[in-house]
């Protein structure tokens, strides 16, 4: 269809009026087309703007919901990552000792809350030593350190079957220096999640 054959109704009215005026005198050149029915134009524009606003509102609403969901997801992920970090936080020991200090117990208390709120969570405690003692005796000392943390957790209500322990003795140091700062970093229990990491639910920690 030829595009020019379609004419707006307001324009047809204007053409008819100028045709009537042309009956008693020679027809002047056609006047430039003016919008004569402002009301209908306004109505049409209002309708269009209303629909655009509604569409925008709808889009804004979706975006807000998406942003909320993303924020909640991020917050949840951050909370879960923080829980994982809390679970992984090492516990440190004095030389040739498996005794849990007050700060070690505080560290374990935070793990307790997470484990209580996540019954499917299982962990492995890995006992480690510095390199100053006997290589062989240190394997046993690391075992005692891992057992020490496990005992604390089970005595506070965690089921025995949820915690495995292992000793790496002095075989897996995190610091290689021959100074007290390095030794202190190596005298530690590491904590590894062995099951339930993907079902972690955020819990309120003190």
């Amino acid at each position: 269809m030829n595009r020019k054959t379609r004419v707006a109704p307001a324009l047809l009215v204007a053409i008819a009026a100028s045709a009537a005026a042309a009956c008693h005198k020679p027809a002047p050149p056609p006047a430039p087309v003016q919008a004569v029915n402002q009301d209908s134009i306004d109505a049409a524009n209002r309708a269009r703007e209303d629909s655009m606003r509604a569409e925008q509102a709808r889009r804004d609403s979706i975006a807000r919901a998406e942003a909320d969901a993303a924020r909640m997801k991020a917050e949840r992920e951050a909370a879960i990552n923080e829980m994982k970090a809390t679970l992984a936080q090492p516990v440190y020991f004095a030389f040739d000792s498996d005794a849990l200090s007050d700060s070690s117990q505080a560290t374990l208390d935070k793990k307790l809350a997470i484990m209580n709120g996540n019954p499917s969570l299982r962990i492995r405690v890995e006992g480690n030593t510095d390199a100053r003692g006997s290589d062989e005796y240190n394997m046993a000392l690391g075992q005692r350190r891992a057992a020490s943390a496990k005992r604390y957790l089970t005595q506070h209500g965690i089921d025995d079957s949820r915690i495995d322990i292992i000793s790496y003795g002095e075989e897996r140091p995190v610091a290689s220096g021959n100074d007290e700062a390095s030794y202190a970093q190596n005298r530690r229990d590491n904590f590894v999640i062995t099951a339930g990491a993907d079902q972690l639910q955020p819990v309120a920690t003190q």
């Binding site: 006997s134 290589d135 062989e136 005796y137 394997m139 000392l141 075992q143 005692r144 057992a147």
Partner: protein, 438 residues
Amino acid sequence: MIRQTIRIATLSCVLAVAAWPAYAQDSTQKGVHIGLTYQPGTKPGVVVLPVGGAWGDSVQAIIARDLDFSDRIEIIGQPGTSAALAVQQASDSGRNVGSGLWKTLGAAAVVQANMTPTGVHFVLQDVAAGRQAQAADAALPTPQGSAAWRLAVHQVSDEIERWITGTRGIAATRVLYVNDSRIYLIDSDGADVRAITSGATALSPAWDSDGRHIAYSQFDEQGTRVMVGDLVTGQARTLATGGLNITPTFSPDGKSIVYAHGKENGTDLMLADPFSNRPATQITVGRGTDNVSPSFSPDGRRIAFTSGRAGHPEVYVVDADGSNAELLTPFNFGDQNYRSNPDWSPDGRQVAFQSRINGEFQIMTITLRDRSVKQLTSEGRNEDPSWAPDGRHLVFTSTRTGAKELFVLDVESGRVRQLTHSGGSRLAAWSPMLGRAP
């Protein structure tokens, strides 16, 4: 319990010469007493003449080095010494043992070897008496230069040492040790380093008295297991698993293994049958303390071990059935020192161990009879002593040159030589005499 069988490196070629070679003694020498008088504390001078024929140079070098490493004999004319040229000239000018040349060089005996189609013919000349004192033949397996061939040459050295000193040498022995995460084997003279294990980190190797079976511990994220390996078949099986299972040692009769087992309430010594699945029995009652690193007395009746039962590690002795535990190493209450890793000497008279002095471990011995203690090292950190079958040499870990290496100490003369040059070598275990019929 999963009992898996894994592969370790085989040494079947090495142990193919399992029977002690029956040296064909020279008939004319039968009943002749060794012409040399060996006095402990003095080292008779011995010349090892150049050996002609293919591989003769190697045979001469190995024998001379073995006799030198025995620390009972002074080798005259070692390459690089002032006597080397004189020995060469004396050798070239004729091998008449009556020649005054040898006396001038201070030699009490001359070792003369000749390659034969099947091995080597070797002779000991007594310089003072001006005659042949001993002679024998030894078969050497092929190929020349192989581990089995070298072991056979070491046996020749050990026999020559017996001729000279009355005591068999220990050249035909090897040392198991840990480097990085694997167990290695090295000849007593530092040759032929071979990896035995692969995979999970291995620790604490130990020999069976047959020189064929070994035990060790191996750990990964799943746990720490005691393994028993066979150097001939190359097979290893899990003896103990579940919790911590470390520091195995064979009883002198090879019928038992004692190792340390820990779960959640300390670590105790257990007794097990190395070749069956019978349940292990507990020896020590540590009540939550650590009891590790056992070492049998040579009669198999007692076990020395490290225990933390007094609040810090000390060396204790217990009867093999678990009764009569007593403190071996002396300490005063409040003493926060650290004594561990005992190894009972082959003559049963003393126990070597490590003791922390000024923050570093040093090797010590303590006699069973009067509990007298002797410090044997002072340079660097020195630990994990293991006796050679002669009860005179110890192999141990030392940081005296930087990284951990194995060193051999002659307890009588104090002479030390470096055995490994690999960096990070530790936890050595000296073999029994190898290649001899049980």
